[in-house]
């Protein structure tokens, strides 16, 4: 346990997530206990509406948990100021950006805000981080374009680059491959995998790409109505955990093919 905790970047304790509306709390999921290993690529799987986004928003402090605790580097999440949390966790969200005239470079440079001074002056180090982020996501050629001119795939890579430029040990991405074709989806998974191996960052991503998650991620967190499993893809397959992911009327998980097939 002690060995494990030194290697843990984030862990939850009996986390109960949901929303508070009209002074009543609407529960989304209960008893979530897991930890994220430093330098791992973890995929969060679950069917629509199971609470993947809520979980990601809760552990990144966008919304408050109903009960339970979250620890970042063994310190409670609420002990972090907004500013210090900004140097610990960076986000890629599903929400649409408001329409502005920001260029790709300016947008990625915003990721440096937690590190810059009060007038947001970019130091040579900041510029270097921005350029590295653009190189890793292969968008250097887009630098001077307005972000509203980009395709969905390009914009997604720009948003990932922004999170990278923020240079936090943990990056959380909420369905970064939604609306993308197979080619661009694969490209994003490859980029994220490369980041984990090259920069030793921890990446948590929610996705519906079961096959790619099995192939690329170090661990998979599987969310269902009654359970929360986190293990290596191999162990999850061996223990038939994938069968719990969807109701089993239409599809089932094929162990040998390592993917879902129609019944």
């Amino acid at each position: 346990m002690i060995m494990e905790s030194t290697n843990t970047i984030l862990r939850t304790e009996n986390l109960h997530i949901g929303y508070t509306a009209k002074k009543k709390s609407i529960s989304v999921a209960k008893n979530i206990n897991f930890h994220l290993q430093k330098g791992s690529f973890v995929a969060l799987l679950g069917k629509n509406g199971i609470g993947k986004s809520t979980l990601l928003r809760t552990i990144s402090n966008v919304q408050k948990p109903l009960e339970g605790a979250i620890f970042m580097d063994e310190k409670p999440l609420e002990s972090y100021s907004t500013k210090s949390l900004a140097t610990a966790i960076s986000l890629v969200l599903t929400e649409r950006l408001p329409e502005s005239q920001l260029t790709v470079f300016e947008l990625i440079a915003l990721g440096r805000q937690p590190h810059t001074n009060w007038v947001d002056q970019l130091t040579p180090l900041d510029v270097e981080k921005i350029e590295t982020a653009m190189t890793l996501t292969e968008i250097t050629h887009l630098s001077n374009q307005r972000y509203y001119e980009l395709s969905d795939g390009q914009l997604q890579r720009v948003l990932i680059a922004r999170a990278l430029a923020q240079d936090t040990p943990l990056i959380i991405l909420d369905e970064p491959t939604a609306h993308l074709d197979l080619h661009h989806t694969l490209q994003i998974f490859k980029v994220l995998k490369k980041l984990v191996s090259e920069t030793s960052k921890t990446i948590l991503i929610s996705t519906h790409e079961v096959n790619l998650a099995i192939k690329f991620s170090d661990e998979i967190a599987l969310m269902t109505e009654n359970s929360f499993h986190k293990d290596s893809p191999k162990n999850l397959i061996e223990n038939n955990i994938f069968d719990t992911l969807f109701p089993d009327e239409i599809i089932r998980f094929d162990k040998t093919l390592q993917q879902f097939v129609m019944k």
Partner: protein, 342 residues
């Protein structure tokens, strides 16, 4: 657009602003030769003593007022548009201007309803600004209270609009029951006026103006990250709630004081930030804030020049001129660009 062309734009606008400032001073209902105006500005004596008084005590204060009103309203509009990430936001939308009008309406029109209670003293120079500021502050407090209870910025925008309608309705009721002379007084105030401010009043105006403008510095950085939406801004370390209140406070101080001293001036706050964004093709607030201030000052100086041009006897109401100018600009922008950005 790179940094050198930003500099060129700023240089051009600054020169234009300074030229318009002097043109503004040299025009008015009384013809004063240029050399006499220059003489007064250099601290020498003009040919007529009355000319000196006109330039020093009327025209220069009026030009300074135009600069402060124009830049102040425009910056308020920019801050509102960024805070609400809505290109239609402006100081009018939050109902703050209407609140100021309500204060003035109670003072000028309410006396017939409430008898001598409100009007026990004589109308000094100060009662109008105080009444307007109180009205603006009242609506602002209500908006901030609502803002802290409502998370959605779009709802705050609508709440602001509702407060505006509410205030306008009360003003209508007051107008209906008031006497003709009082109504006339109120209507003239609502035309807007840049003149009639003494140096003392300018000083008070300037103190509030500078205080509010200084408030922009600590939030300058967060304005850019707000362009990504509140969740991203928060994840970048911006204390959203606090900054939202600072922005609301700055806007209401500026709008309240401006409306108090020069009447409800429409359209500038909405249109000028869009002019700045079009001219500089950027959404970066480090460029937009000074650009908006400069263009706002230029626009109001220009409007004031237009207001006094048609006849040398009369000055048109400034509020009519800004709307006459502002409405076509917004229409033209929408037709030409097809899209407005924040």
């Amino acid at each position: 657009m790179n940094k050198t062309s930003y500099k060129k734009h700023f240089l051009f606008l600054s020169v234009l602003g300074i030229v318009l400032f002097f043109v503004n001073i040299s025009l008015g209902s009384v013809m004063i030769p240029i050399q006499d105006i220059m003489a007064v500005l250099m601290g020498e004596n003009a040919n007529k003593e009355s000319w000196e008084i006109i330039v020093l005590n009327f025209r220069i204060p009026k030009a300074i007022t135009a600069v402060m009103v124009g830049s102040g309203l425009s910056v308020s509009g920019l801050l509102m548009q960024t805070l609400f990430r809505n290109p239609l936001a402006g100081p009018f939308v939050l109902g703050i201007s209407s609140g100021a009008s309500l204060g003035v309406a109670f003072l000028l029109l309410g006396s017939s309803l409430f008898g001598g209670v409100l009007m026990s003293g004589t109308l000094s120079n100060w009662t109008l600004p105080i009444a307007a500021s109180l009205g603006a502050f009242l609506v602002l407090s209500a908006v901030i209270f609502a803002a802290n209870n409502v998370r959605n910025t779009m709802s705050i925008l609508i709440i602001g609009l509702m407060f505006g309608s509410f205030a306008s309705a009360i003003i209508s009721v007051l107008s209906y029951f008031s006497e003709a002379t009082q109504l006339q007084q109120f209507v003239f105030w609502s035309f807007g006026s840049l003149g009639n401010l003494s140096w003392n009043e300018i000083l008070v105006f300037a103190v509030f103006y500078v205080l509010a403008m200084c408030g922009i510095f600590p939030i300058l950085k967060s304005l850019n990250s707000l362009l990504l939406g509140e969740n991203y801004a928060k994840s970048l370390g911006i204390p959203i709630q606090k900054n939202r209140n600072i922005i609301l406070l700055i806007t209401s101080i500026l709008t309240g004081v401006i409306t108090a001293f020069s009447g409800p001036i429409a359209f500038v706050g909405l249109a000028v930030p869009h002019l700045a964004r079009m001219l500089f093709t950027t959404s970066n607030h480090k460029v937009l804030v000074p650009a908006t201030m400069l263009i706002g000052a230029i626009v109001l100086l220009l409007c004031d020049i237009i207001a006094q041009l048609p006849t040398s006897e009369h000055t048109l109401p400034i509020n009519a001129i800004t709307s006459l100018f502002g409405a076509p600009v917004v229409i033209w922008l929408l037709i030409r660009k097809k899209k407005l950005y924040v």
